[in-house]
């Protein structure tokens, strides 16, 4: 059992948790993730570690309620416990002094882009961050991103805050302005990561994305998280989750993530049904 020390909503449906996990807190490096399981009948699901405090023995995760498990997680409060938290898993981000680095976070992906941006800053990079969201209320970690950036930009799809448009448009603007960009990290929804890869490809800018395939064990056993990178099969849980954006087959990733869409829908409906019953009683 892993105790939740604090739980606060950063935006509607996006919640930040600090969880007691001293061993993981001590070991964790940017880019790594944990597998969680909320109950005896719960599924195992991965979430990237956003931050950690080895002194306090806590890790921070940020969850967007998208499926049954993440919604259940987001209902938990400080003082409650999580049945299983395993990690830190995955290969840490490759951090070096690349020169000028752009860290792009889309939606809750910002939670994953943030620790790597911080590590890039610590390694001596000139760090530009682009923090994108659909609308102002969904912008998360604005202050945190600013604190590790030499230049910080916010973009919103509806123009309600910061730059009016997509993160890719802001990135293109930076490139067009003649800035020399040496490294791009992009984390967010699959279409966003794919779009960023296409923006940087013509310029040969090294670009890394963090992938989110379906996982079960997360430790290198089941093979569920296989992704196509170049001509090779890679396993996100041990070879990744970060890969060269210009080699990733994003369509295949998006396709494979849909395998349980019917079951997920059934699960959502069952949950909605239970909620209605609970509301009636």
């Amino acid at each position: 059992m892993y105790r939740i020390v604090s739980a606060i909503f950063l935006a509607e449906n996006i919640k930040k948790f600090e969880i007691e996990a001293p061993r993981i807190a001590k070991k964790r490096r940017a880019g790594q993730f944990v597998m969680l399981r909320l109950s005896e009948t719960g599924e195992r699901f991965p979430l990237t570690i956003a931050d950690s405090d080895p002194e306090k023995g806590t890790i921070t995760i940020i969850s967007q309620g998208a499926g049954k498990s993440t919604r259940a997680l987001n209902r938990l409060e400080a003082g409650e416990t999580i049945t299983d938290v395993v990690g830190p898993l995955g290969t840490p981000s490759h951090i070096g002094n690349f020169g000028t680095s752009v860290s792009i976070g889309g939606g809750v992906g910002t939670a994953i882009a943030y620790p790597t941006a911080a590590a890039l800053k610590a390694a001596g990079n000139y760090v530009i961050t682009i923090n994108g969201a659909r609308t102002r209320e969904l912008v998360i970690l604005e202050e945190e991103m600013k604190a590790v950036s030499d230049e910080a930009y916010i973009t919103t799809d509806d123009g309600s805050y910061g730059f009016n448009g997509f993160v890719t448009q802001k990135l293109q603007e930076l490139i067009d302005s003649g800035r020399k960009i040496d490294f791009v990290l992009a984390i967010g929804p699959i279409p966003m990561m794919k779009a960023v890869a296409e923006v940087t490809r013509p310029y040969g800018i090294r670009t890394v994305v963090s992938l989110n395939p379906i996982m079960i064990d997360g430790t290198g056993m089941c093979g569920g998280c296989r992704v196509t990178v170049g001509d090779e099969i890679k396993f996100a849980c041990v070879d990744g989750p970060e890969f060269d954006a210009h080699l990733v087959d994003f369509k295949n990733l998006a396709d494979r993530n849909r395998i349980y869409q019917h079951e997920e829908k059934a699960s959502d409906e069952a949950e909605a049904h239970r909620c209605r019953l609970a509301a009636q009683s």
Binding site: R23, I24, K27, R37, T41, G42, E43, R44, K68, S69, T83, D84, V85, V86, G87, P88, L89, T91, I216, D217, T219, G220, M221, C222, G223, G224, R226, T228, I233, F235, V238, D249, K251, N252, D255, R256, R258, I259, Y260, H262, E263, E264, A266, S267, A270
Partner: protein, 482 residues
């Protein structure tokens, strides 16, 4: 007939006793165990078939040299608990090994009776004594040496780790077992299905080990959560045993393998066994809905049989085994092949997949196959399959499960570079002691051998425990005696 006065001729006249089993049609629709176990009467009768050879070759045929003649004699005399105790001197998990060991290739293969008749059902008898002990609630508490004050970390709670932990505890060492998953048992829990090995049996064995003072910690991925060096240098362990099992599954490298609906046997079985996806949506983890669908498993080993029989139980309309050689070359146990056939599994032998076919949405719709014929024997001594020109055909499929083996678990290699690994990334050990290239670190099971059997892993765990004990106590010990 009684055990004392029976003549050899009378023994030889007794037919091999058939273990009651669930009806094949019935069982293909449930996850309950196929075999129901021998009754005490059947077990005693079967035990009387053993002619008590002066030089029991069956003992040599067993990877851990269980005193087979002696435990069978005790069964014949009706001393079932004594028999259990005798088995447990060499094998701590008889209820498990009695079920999953390939006895027909080991002890029963060399049984003298088996030369002219059917061999003594050693596996069924082993299972019987393990079950008898459990079901009658008379767990045998093994003799424990006084505490030595030494601490040993065992990494992985599968067959290798559990047998190693058991022996070390009996030698008097404090043992802590670390498991990466949320549930203990390794492949016994995530890999082997309920209908072949009920999970209750594994849990019961784990309870027994806990009562011996062995400590278990789940959710610890060694190499990630804690390293081997930290165990030795900071956590106060005097030795470490690595039994982390096999790793990532192999794929065939044919076109279309990444279509939706193509998955590895490890994933399919883990979803159903460990995550209880058969009970979706009561269990949160889903599995591909097999009801009324066409499912094929590619491969011919025990895991392939487990996977296809699982798909059948989940309601598959057509459940195929696609294997490139003939039945004789299949690595699966004969018993498993027969069970599968009786349950309605369709075997496409001498068939090789060329390409998976999908629709525009990326879902699997079929597989293009080619017929093979057997040519000259290859390096493995098995006749090499050769493609038959112009024999291509397409099988409509909704799910394909790849079951052609596993590589090694990659984490130890990634995180503990000073442990020497082979070209295949298995850990290199001294075969006599199971010691790795790193001092006080031992390894055994699939991480050393590549995919093998439960009993070989257990044998390796025991050999390592004996060597660790010798190193820690400065005393020589044979692993068959404590």
């Amino acid at each position: 007939m009684d055990a004392k006065n029976i003549t050899t001729k009378e023994r030889l006249a007794i037919p091999r006793q058939v273990m009651p089993a669930q009806d094949p049609v019935l069982r293909a629709g449930n996850f309950s165990e196929v075999h129901l176990g021998l009754t005490p009467e059947l077990a005693q009768m079967e035990a009387l078939r053993c002619i008590q050879c002066k030089d029991p070759v069956c003992v040599q045929g067993c990877p851990v040299n269980i005193k087979i003649d002696q435990f069978i004699k005790l069964i014949a005399e009706g001393d079932f608990l004594g028999a259990a105790r005798k088995v447990k001197e060499d094998n701590v998990l008889p209820a498990i090994c009695g079920r999953v060991c390939p006895q027909e290739d080991q002890c029963e293969k060399v049984c003298v009776i088996g030369k002219k008749r059917e061999p003594v059902a050693i596996g069924n008898l082993e299972r019987f004594v393990g079950d008898y002990e459990r079901l009658t609630g008379q767990r045998i508490v093994p003799e424990m040496a006084p505490p030595t004050g030494k601490n040993v970390a065992v990494i992985g709670s599968g067959p290798a780790g559990l047998s190693c932990a058991n022996d070390l505890a009996q030698y008097g060492h404090k043992v802590v077992v670390f498991e990466a998953l949320h549930e203990l048992g390794g492949v016994l829990m995530y890999g082997i299905p309920e209908f072949r090995l009920p999970k209750e049996i594994v849990r019961d064995e784990l309870d027994g080990l806990r009562k011996m003072g062995i400590e278990f910690r789940t959710d610890v991925v060694v190499g990630r959560t804690i390293t081997v060096d930290e165990l030795l240098e900071e956590e106060g362990f005097d030795a470490v045993f690595i039994g982390v099992g096999a790793g990532l599954p192999w794929f065939m490298g044919i076109p279309g393998e990444n279509l939706i609906g193509v998955l590895a046997a490890n994933e399919f079985l883990t979803r159903v066994n460990l995550m209880k996806a058969w009970d979706f949506p009561n269990s949160d983890t889903p599995v591909f809905d097999c009801k009324g669908k066409n499912v094929a498993v590619f491969g011919g080993g025990n895991t392939a049989m487990d996977a296809i029989r699982t798909a059948k139980r989940l309601g598959a309309e057509h459940a195929y085994i696609v294997y490139r050689r003939s039945e004789a070359e299949m690595p699966a146990r004969e018993e498993e092949i027969h069970h599968a056939q009786k349950e309605g599994i369709e075997f496409m032998l001498l068939t090789i997949p060329l390409e998976f076919i999908g629709n525009e949405q990326g879902w699997l719709t079929g597989v293009k196959c080619q017929k093979m014929e057997l040519g000259e024997p290859d390096d493995s001594g098995r006749r090499k399959p050769v493609p038959v020109e112009g024999s291509e055909f397409v099988v409509p499929l909704d799910m394909a499960v790849i079951s052609i083996g596993n590589g090694s678990n990659p984490l130890i290699k990634q995180t503990t570079p000073d442990i020497e690994v082979s070209r295949k990334d298995t850990i290199v050990v001294d075969v006599n002691t199971m010691e790795t290239s790193k001092e006080m670190v031992y390894a055994g099971g699939d991480i050393v051998t590549g995919g093998a059997t439960v009993i070989l892993a257990m044998g390796a765990g025991r050999k390592a425990a004996a060597a660790i004990h010798e190193k820690l106590s400065g005393k020589a010990s044979s692993f068959n005696e404590w």
